[in-house]
Point group: C2
Chain length 330, copies 2
């Protein structure tokens, strides 16, 4: 910066002002400083900037599972919005491991990130509270915060679960199963709750059983499907609501006998998220679509607003999922 100042024949303070408050500087200075910057290939040192000004140009995003295309779309939405503000995103995958969650929270705190987006696994309110005491804004993603202590952006999973179950009931199915878990994962619990509500409030005499998985992954979907196939045909559900599309994809793979799929004739299937691969599956999978991109974008926007004004009251933004019916649900 000193070199740039010398080259442009101004002081470092002026160079700083050109970079940060161009309207307080004469057009002439701006031009000269700019050309000096170009000539010398100067790149400002964000560490020093950060140290002095206390503002950082990174935000952290802690996600449960980066292998889920849905999450990737959310991150992508946040990234697009961030790049518009000259901000880069630090990503951390937790694999639903609280220890990794802790680690990234620490790492991001060290980095003095401008804020943290997180789709949390367990209950880390206390941990996040500490972050907030350090003035680091936090926005929960893909999950509500009932106490309203943090801003949150998510889809209404309960409604989504209800709509999915109602769809299956409308197809004439009566022996429903929810395949998902673990249930300390909020999203899974909410989707099940919604489905349960729909079944209990229908007068069709339908039932809902729960097949628990240890994660919302393709592998767990396959395993759950095997368990279902191990039963006598009469004992199997006639419709399955999968916790998300990965589970649905896994289920689809194992719900077949001797090469012939049971879906949708014997078993109707619906997933959640509407990832792009759901439509390309062996049987195109029905799903509850979430506006992934918009979720990420909105979350980042709120985060930046809160970073700019710490007095803002936390707000919950809820998107409504949308039923996308395909072949798998008949």
């Amino acid at each position: 910066m000193r070199d740039v100042a010398r080259e442009a024949g101004v002081s470092v303070g002026t160079v700083s002002n050109v970079l940060n408050k161009p309207d307080e500087v004469s057009a002439d200075s701006i031009a000269r400083v700019q050309s000096a910057i170009d000539k010398l290939g100067y790149i400002r040192n964000d560490a020093a900037r950060r140290l002095r000004a206390g503002v950082s140009s990174t935000v952290g995003f802690i996600v449960l599972d980066g292998r889920n295309p849905f999450i990737n779309e959310v991150v992508r939405g946040a990234e697009d919005e961030a790049s518009r503000h000259g901000i880069a995103i630090l990503v951390g995958n937790t694999d639903e491991d609280p220890a990794r969650e802790e680690m990234y929270l620490d790492l991001f705190a060290e980095q003095q990130v401008r804020g943290v987006l997180i789709s949390p696994y367990g209950d880390i309110t206390r941990r996040l509270q500490r972050l907030r005491e350090r003035e680091v804004p936090v926005v929960l993603v893909d999950r509500m915060n009932p106490e309203g202590r943090f801003s949150a952006v998510a889809t209404d999973s309960v409604s989504g679960g209800r709509m999915a179950a109602e769809h299956l009931l409308a197809q004439g199915r009566r022996r429903l199963a929810f395949v998902g878990g673990p249930f300390d994962m909020r999203q899974a619990r909410d989707r099940l709750d919604g489905a349960r509500w729909a079944v209990e409030n229908s007068d069709a005499g339908a039932t809902l059983e729960v097949v628990t998985t240890t994660a919302l992954s393709v592998e767990e979907g396959i395993a759950a499907g095997r368990r279902i196939m191990d039963r006598q045909p009469a004992q199997r559900p006639d419709a399955v609501f999968a916790g998300n599309d990965l589970v649905a994809l896994g289920l689809l793979q194992s719900l077949s006998t001797g090469g012939s799929l049971l879906v949708p004739q014997q078993i109707a299937l619906i997933g959640f998220d509407d990832i792009s691969f759901a439509a390309a599956a062996a049987v195109p999978i029905s799903s509850m679509r979430q506006p992934a991109r918009a979720i990420g974008q909105t979350a980042l926007r709120i985060l930046l607003e809160e970073a700019a004004d710490a007095t803002l009251i936390p707000r919950q933004t809820v998107f409504r999922p949308e039923l996308v019916a395909r072949a798998s649900s008949g």
Copy 2:
């Protein structure tokens, strides 16, 4: 840090040493400093550390398309290795847009990242050279650097292309098509070159046509499939090698007539990358598997080695792809 020093009854220099060079400090000091840190909830300020010491604890990763699960696995591999070193990863999606590539390169330079991993789109040797002049190590990912100026970690796409085509030929197919592009994307060109070599060096009298796409995406695969279906059946290829699995997935969706797929009977299909969704497709897709995780891990490891020792000679690490034959290639 001053607070910690006071609490522990030592100087800030000692606190710093406890954190960075524990072996130069007495066990007693370590213990007291540690407990002071815990008590006060001290988190070190990475900006200051960076400013003074010049070492950063972030690396940047610039990827072509974060929607590709293959790339995500690579990033994941890098992230796992990074977290072992207390390093976080800044991600930037370029969407094959040179302007975004530039933007992220600048942003990462400002951040004084420890190094940059990049799966580059066009020819940005010059741009990367500038980074290197600033002592920022660069490792190319998923792409070789023939001039050997940068370290690179990738799969041998030419061999992969050759193996894919040979597999199709071995299935008795003779009218092969390569669906992919654009060809200023190195990986696409290499895969085609490999396939071409295999066709030309087989004495089966096979042919290879090229169906060009503007990206290696599901959408482009669908569009290319439509163009193929628009032809008279006799004019269609009897085997398609897709530039990657996304294209293959797209092709699979459009290669059907009135609900009945032509794959694999009329048209054999093979993709590249072996993303997890390839196996779950309508017809399980054959693919050339790349060790995604290992690529990311290796790239990061090399990056850190080069960051630690600038005199290291660039090295190219090549993984061999592996044929995974499934139903789609008969």
